[in-house]
């Protein structure tokens, strides 16, 4: 009786860890293989190996010296950073109103915001293109910032509204009695308490903007205004029949590293229980 019980328990834990290993391998393998490939050169590229066989940084050197890739990297940083800052600013002020100010149609407005995020990118591409042409920002970073902000806002507003609702009303009222204006309440009382939510949503918005491809392809036309996802896709080799896999992989790794670094930095900043002590308990 006990033997079968132990066997069942053993099987369960084996299955559990097997599943964990499977998931990890499946999700990490593509990136691992990209790193592996980026360190190869010449015809080595087309020999399938699963362990590092050579260590050649030539691909990295050529991608960084080649054409406008460094410029594309800077574009990506600029576009993503401005998108995050802009979206967070609008979302924080909007969520204050949506969570704390009573007005007619608040629920409807929240639902509309959620509905906006349901449109597929393809559906709005043509319309957005016209808007961007009309605004005269076609083929500038602002076209991307504008469109990314539109697509990031519903998510950011929802998360921050939910989070702000959880903040104790008494703290806000104490600030009102202390003579604080809504702006002071947002910047000096709420923002410091919202760091975890800001970091999380900001990070997700950054990743979305950083990896976005379709808008970036459509709204830019010159090498100098492209962002890295498009630049990588358009990397070309010596002839039209050659696809420079080594360089593409090196570029992909370079592009992924900033994201990993950002996550690692901010992971420490996501401190839960920041409101502890302000109110009872």
């Amino acid at each position: 009786m006990t033997a079968t019980f132990d066997l069942w328990k053993f099987t369960k834990s084996v299955l559990f860890y097997a599943l964990v290993v499977f998931i990890v391998v499946v999700s990490v393998f593509p990136f691992y293989y990209a790193i592996l490939t980026s360190l190869k050169s010449g015809t080595d590229l087309f020999r399938i190996t699963y362990w590092p066989t050579s260590f050649d940084l030539g691909n990295y050197a050529s991608v960084l010296n080649q054409g406008s890739f460094p410029r594309n990297l800077l574009n990506s940083v600029f576009v993503s950073a401005v998108t995050v800052i802009g979206a967070l600013f609008i979302a924080v002020t909007a969520s204050f109103a949506l969570s704390r100010v009573r007005f007619r149609g608040r629920g409807l407005l929240l639902m509309t915001i959620l509905a906006v995020s349901m449109f597929p990118q393809m559906a709005v591409l043509a319309g957005l293109f016209e808007v961007i042409r009309a605004l005269g920002i076609y083929n500038t970073p602002w076209a991307l910032i504008f469109s990314y902000t539109i697509f990031t806002l519903p998510f950011t507003v929802w998360v921050l509204t939910t989070f702000m609702r959880e903040l104790p009303v008494e703290i806000e009222e104490a600030a009102i009695v202390d003579g604080a204006s809504p702006w002071v309440i947002i910047t000096r009382v709420f923002l410091p308490l919202m760091w975890p939510a800001l970091v999380t949503t900001g990070l997700l918005a950054f990743i979305a903007a950083w990896n976005e491809f379709l808008f970036a392809l459509t709204f830019t036309s010159s090498n100098d205004t492209r962002t890295v996802p498009v630049a990588i896709a358009l990397l070309s080799g010596g002839s039209q029949f050659e696809i420079p896999w080594g360089i593409i992989m090196a570029a992909s790794v370079i592009v992924t590293v900033p994201l990993v670094v950002l996550v690692l930095i901010f992971q420490r900043k996501i401190v839960s229980g920041l409101t502890a002590g302000g109110v009872k308990g």
Binding site: E170, I176, V177, G179, A180, V189, L193, G277, G278, V279
Partner: protein, 335 residues
């Protein structure tokens, strides 16, 4: 230093009227306590005075000036919340200084002087660098009071400030608030509580509220000795006043008679009434005997010192004639 006057103040949330026409005057430098059962509108009334809620109709005057539309910070009030409501990310010093830093023309030295003065008053100077989460409940509440003092308000509002503290701390903090009132005798204080002991011990005058209306306003002793209704009589005083109706009350020419436990004596025989002991509580200094004698709730007799009555004993009791409260059918006193 401000007198507050409410003229037919009403407050409705949607269709529900919470405050149903309150007329009240709070004098300069007075300690006024709003007391009543939960849901009677006492906290709402305080929030109307603070300006955190708008009045639906009626007038609110501070020193004779209408303040209906004035923002809380412009009314010269400071408020202490039940849940402390400290800013969690600021140190004690920053918490207390926050209001002052928002005022224009306050120098750093002046702010520091006022914060330190308030901190000394409440003996929290050694905690000024700490965050709220590093403090105990009692210390947090003192910081909240300190934050209010720092603003040098004309009116001090307390919204059930002691209800989150444990019993011992509650008594200690209550005494501190009483001391504070003595030291700041220029400041009008309004205090909301559902605990009639806090009301009796702290108040210059008590305002008993019931269902959004003022039931009675008066000094603690006035309310204790001359309650204006059965409701007030039952609410003020601990243990609760005993109410006896029916034939026994008819003997006193009243619908209901009320008599406090401390005004009943247990006599060997020939008492006015008699009853069976169902429970006794010995508290050392005094003791309570609960008697079953056909009333809705058992009659409580308060005795000095301990007693050794047992359940099932039949005892005779005699109320002090001059301490009997007689009420008519509408619950109003017969005098």
């Amino acid at each position: 230093m401000a007198s507050i006057e409410l003229r037919n103040v009403r407050k409705a949330f949607g269709a529900v009227e919470v405050i149903k026409g309150v007329d009240l005057e709070v004098r300069k430098g007075e300690f006024m306590v709003f007391v009543g059962p939960s849901g009677c509108g006492k906290s709402t009334l305080l929030r109307l005075i603070s300006g955190l809620e708008d009045i639906t109709s009626g007038e609110m005057l501070f020193d004779g000036k209408v303040v209906n539309a004035l923002a809380p910070s412009k009314r010269g009030i400071a408020m202490v919340f039940q849940s402390y409501a400290l800013y969690p990310h600021m140190t004690v010093y920053e918490n207390m200084a926050f209001g002052l830093t928002l005022e224009k023309g306050q120098s750093k030295e002046e702010i520091q002087r006022r914060v330190e003065k308030a901190a000394d008053m409440l003996q929290i100077r050694q905690y000024l660098d700490r965050l709220p989460k590093q403090l105990s409940g009692g210390q947090r509440q003192r910081v909240a009071i300190g934050r209010a003092i720092t603003r040098d308000p004309k009116v001090f509002l307390f919204d059930e400030p002691l209800s989150n503290l444990d019993a011992a701390l509650r008594v200690a903090t209550r005494i501190e608030i009483a001391k504070l009132h003595e030291e700041m005798n220029q400041v009008t204080m309004i205090y909301v509580t559902h605990d009639q002991v806090e009301a009796m011990t702290l108040a210059d005058r008590i305002c008993v509220l019931r269902d959004g209306l003022v039931e009675q306003v008066g000094s603690p002793m006035e309310l204790y000795e001359h309650p204006n209704s059965v409701f007030v009589a039952g609410f003020i005083g601990s243990p609760k006043m005993n109410f006896i109706s029916g034939e026994k009350a008819a003997a006193f020419n009243a619908e209901t008679v009320g008599i406090r436990g401390e005004h009943i004596a247990i006599v060997p025989d020939n008492g006015t009434w008699s009853g069976t002991v169902i429970h006794t509580e010995n508290l050392g200094a005094d003791s309570y005997v609960y008697l079953e004698m056909g009333t809705e709730e058992p009659v409580v007799v308060r005795l000095d010192g301990a007693n050794d009555y047992k359940s099932g004993d039949v005892v005779h009791i005699a109320p002090m004639e001059d301490k009997i409260h007689r009420f008519d059918g509408a619950g109003k006193p017969i005098r």
